[in-house]
Symmetry: C2
Subunit: 384 residues, 2 copies
């Protein structure tokens, strides 16, 4: 296999779990890519020879972002709903139905080309792994095709038939979600998720849906405690889920439950930015010993950003994270939240997924908010 | 002169002051560029022939951003100060001295190449006119060379010898700023500015400095009321300045003074983002009849963003502006704040400075925060 030496890296974020510092920083660094994998990392002065050589001129390199929460399969947009919200209309989950109607009306080709565009937009901003949910189909056929579209772009597909009750009786809809819809979705999905919130699904319904999913071989995730206090986070901890997402409104017992279960809290600060809600308190969670990931939640309703760098800047400005914690949360913790040990760190054997920054250090991702600092993204050893 | 038809524009923001709506929106639009100027705008179906034709595929076009407040001439960065501030150290104007030392130590070539890089970074984000201040030299020689460097990139150069007192007696420093330093700076500058704030210069000193500047042919600007209440905004109104910048802490009488004088309030929300200060209240100002511009304040200390799109998103999220008001403030009002009637609007006779968005409408600049939506920037009729 061809080897490539990437050298003159001003600062390399390895996320090596064996390092003394959180990010496993190496100054004046280099790394060697062999095929799709990392074969060596260290000081540039100590680097071995390779077939090819790339000089980064002192730029920083971070692991590619692992965006563990997105809703990219949809049609239409909700720019006018956004503008109305900014003028004072409160955010409500019911707006999802607008996107459901547009998504059902779209062709497979339209959905696929829209996802392709957003995945490419993410890649340009440094994202190398993305989880994609269904949830704007909400019929057997439309959930299955949403997941089939998503699967063309990622292994991390999540069945979210339980996004909102589209119409009719909630109990009958749960029967559909746990029955024929699950049967049609399972072959295209790795995960199953529920929006557990007032106005969507309650904890008993979520438990039933995740249970049915587990029976079909799908691992559970949960949207919880976004819009108010509730039982969702404690349910996630009780079920031993790998991650529970949003976590904006947490009682002390929720934090304790997350710490005790080891469930990752995935925070989505772009949502609070775009809905003008209070931000979750990452500092409180980290200080309590809870693992925190951050992700984009890219979706047309509550948060139409695809920018993990913006989420990092918001995590620092608004959620009390240090720049190092925020970068780690968007890479290493994101990989953990997807149970992936092949991405999220630049250590020997992992996939060579990385973002080159037009900046000397990772701190600039928070210090220079909004600036498109990612100048090149490599996935599986290949620059894009 | 060659004419170019730019057509299939999904939404065109003209900022035509004769239009009924603030942005002078035209749907399914086109425009014709002749040389460096706009020769025609209207519905694509009505467009005249031209020598060349560019099809934008339904994308939105906005006037290029007019960033009326930046400090691009400096060396070094202050990423560690930023990280410390985010961990709880309050922002103080004294940090400017760190950059002064680095700037004095830099060569002309280093300063020039650094400004070139930032101006190009701005252009990639849609900025077509930028004001650039001195203020990190603070000696006769270093202020003059800072302005000479800035003048290579813009006509809108501002002498800010009165950024902070570098050392020694404040009275003696004001004598220097109004005497030999002004003499050396005037040939390279159009404007003169003072940081009127506790810890920098008081209103009497600001009055003296702006008066001396006026005597040398430089028009006045002012940084005021950023860190606390004070006399600066009322001084700006009393002197009839075109614009006063920051305006975070305003008493009712300050707002009244701005309304009565017609002085533009230039708000810089990137600063509040990066210093974790409260945001200025644009809604209050607009509702009182004050003209509001927004700008980046790109500088290494309080705000190292060059992104006007981020400032637009912050203006909507944090300052109560509508997306239309924010886009207008970053284009038309920015031009007014620099007394420029040749930029800031896409109407016949003005310079063909525009940004093409990978989005159907201007609302997406706020709806999709952090996403690099500007796919092409034209300056004086030429794409870059």
């Amino acid at each position: 296999m061809t080897t490539t030496l990437i050298t003159n890296i001003g600062e390399l974020v390895t996320n090596d779990p064996e390092a003394e510092d959180l990010l496993g920083l190496v100054q004046d660094a280099a790394l060697v890519v062999e095929g799709s994998r990392i074969a060596w990392t260290g000081r540039a002065a100590d680097a071995p020879d390779a077939d090819e050589r790339v000089d980064l001129g002192g730029r920083a390199v971070v692991p590619g972002f692992v965006d563990s929460h997105s809703h990219l399969v949809f049609a239409g947009d909700r720019a006018q709903e956004f503008a109305a919200r900014m003028a004072g209309t409160p955010y409500a989950a019911g707006g999802i139905r607008t996107t459901v109607a547009a998504t059902r009306a779209a062709t497979d080709e339209q959905l696929t080309s829209h996802v392709a565009r957003l995945v490419e937009e993410m890649r340009r901003q440094g994202t190398t792994t993305v989880e994609i949910k269904s949830g704007y189909g909400l019929t057997v056929k439309d959930e299955a095709r949403s997941l089939a579209v998503a699967r063309q772009f990622t292994e991390e597909t999540t069945y979210l038939g339980a996004h909102v009750v589209p119409d009719g009786d909630p109990g009958e809809y749960v029967d559909l979600v746990t029955g024929p819809m699950l049967d049609a979705a399972r072959e295209h999905a790795r995960w199953i998720d529920v929006f557990c919130e007032r106005g969507a699904f309650d904890a008993d319904q979520a438990r039933a849906i995740l249970g049915a999913g587990a029976g079909a071989g799908l691992r559970g995730r949960l949207h919880a405690n976004q819009l108010g206090y509730g039982d969702g986070v404690r349910l996630a901890a009780e079920l031993g889920l790998l991650a529970v997402d949003h976590c904006t409104y947490l009682a002390d017992e929720d934090v304790d439950a997350l710490r005790d279960s080891g469930t990752i809290a995935t925070l989505l600060p772009g949502v609070e930015f775009s809905t003008r809600q209070p931000y979750p308190d990452a500092r409180r969670l980290i200080d309590a010993g809870v693992r925190v990931a951050i992700a984009s939640d890219c979706n047309p309703g509550s948060c139409f950003t695809s920018s993990v760098p913006l989420c990092i800047a918001l995590a620092v400005r608004e959620m009390g994270m240090t720049p190092a914690e925020a970068v780690h949360a968007a890479t290493y913790r994101g990989a953990e939240a997807l149970d992936r040990d092949d991405v999220g760190a630049l250590v020997v054997g992992r996939r060579a997924d990385l973002a080159v920054l037009d900046a000397p250090t990772h701190v600039h991702l928070a210090y220079r908010p909004g600036v498109p600092l990612v100048v090149q993204t490599w996935i599986a050893g290949r620059p894009g």
